[in-house]
Amino acid sequence: MNDQKPLPALNEDTREFWEGCRHHQLKFQKCSECGLIRWPPSIICPTCHSLEQKWAPAEGRGKIFTFAVYHQPFHPAFKNDLPYVVAVIELEEGVHFLSNLVGCDHRLIRCGMPVRVVWEDRKEGFSIPKFTPVQ
């Protein structure tokens, strides 16, 4: 295995999302019929089955729904990050987004903590949305 961290594998569903990230903008699909904001992206609304949607910007604020602290690397590229935190963020817009929690002591993390997005720019041209506690 190589030591490079995996990059997003863009497809027709996720391309718009990662293009937004490149400009430090979180965007999610919003159903034009029922207004549901959804993640992950899909061609059809899971609630009303409408095919009509547009990409709407999100504020990048939310709270921690749950989290897990990795103490063992399952890929060599993450070894130097240990311990690192994977969290599900409940965004203000309603979606649950899986990401990393950075910039805080993992022993102080609690479900329900308010967080905001921060950006990790990769030299390959991607920007990865991560989250940090709101001070």
């Binding site: 961290k5 594998a9 996720t14 897990a68 993450f78 994977v86 979606v95 649950h96 991560k130």
Partner: protein
């Protein structure tokens, strides 16, 4: 899946199974009274069964409560002893009609109840991450088909990819309410000599991992009376088992099967 997937979770260093179940277990810790204190009873209890099982990977290795807390974290809140084993091996079961089984050399075991309930493939907003899992309705279906209640169950063989899986499955079947597991498990409830033996081979945590066949084969062997030192009954100071409840689940607490087996008597 516990969290709807794009395939890009690996970008964040998230790997399914242990990571996914850890997210679910952490949410459960937020919603009701659970955590390592509860899970230590499951890990140590199952290890006592494994210590009676010569086929168990962990047969020769005792595990105390203190020993549980001394093992390293893998993905917190899970320690090494919260995770199932990784092993090679195989298990098989022969399924046939009760009529044909009468002529076989070994005593047959009857399937008397089945239930299955699978949560939506994408729990989009994951609000049910801490349960109830599919175990709730699958268990109700299986008990109904078997024409029994939980009171009639003598032992359980529960799919135990992680200690927490055992807790949430027993909880969703109705053995105790949310967060009451820690008290229910006190005093060796699930151990040899306990009033509700659980995972009597050591389970996937301490015997060996054969997916859903670890619990199922153990239930069949127990009801056939082929379990030697760990045999339910006088050998282990437990009641002789007539009815054993088995579970299996897949994904991250996403699909669930329940099967009720009965001694052919």
């Amino acid at each position: 899946m516990t969290v709807a997937r794009t395939g890009d979770e690996i970008v964040f260093g998230h790997f399914e199974a242990v990571g996914g179940y850890a997210l679910a277990a952490r949410r459960a810790m937020h919603e009701f009274r659970t955590g390592p204190e509860t899970w230590s009873h499951i890990a140590a209890g199952q290890r006592k069964w494994a210590n009676l099982n010569p086929n168990a990977v962990m047969c020769e290795q005792p595990l105390s409560m203190e020993g549980y807390f001394n093992t390293r974290f893998v993905v917190e809140p899970f320690r090494l002893c919260d995770c199932c084993l990784v092993n090679d091996g195989g298990r098989a079961i022969v399924v046939t009609s009760a009529e044909r089984a009468r002529d076989l050399k070994n005593p047959p075991v009857l399937i008397t109840g089945l239930g299955q309930h699978n949560l939506p493939s994408e729990i989009h907003q994951s609000t049910s991450m801490a349960g109830p899992t599919g175990a709730k309705r699958a268990g109700e279906q299986a008990l109904h088909m078997a024409g029994i209640t939980l009171e009639d169950v003598d032992a359980c063989e529960i799919y135990d990819c992680f200690t927490y899986t055992v807790e949430i499955t027993l909880q969703d079947y109705g053995f105790f309410g949310p967060g009451e597991g820690r008290d229910w498990l006190q005093g060796g409830t699930v151990e040899p000599g306990g009033r509700m033996p659980v995972n009597t081979s050591g389970g996937q945590l301490s015997e060996a991992y054969f997916m859903g066949l670890t619990p199922l084969t153990e239930a069949v062997m127990q009801l056939m009376g082929r379990c030697g030192e760990r045999q339910l009954g006088p050998n282990t100071n437990t009641k002789r088992a007539e009815i054993i409840l088995c579970s299996d689940n897949g994904g991250i607490l996403q699909s669930h099967s329940c099967m009720i087996l009965r001694r052919n008597s």
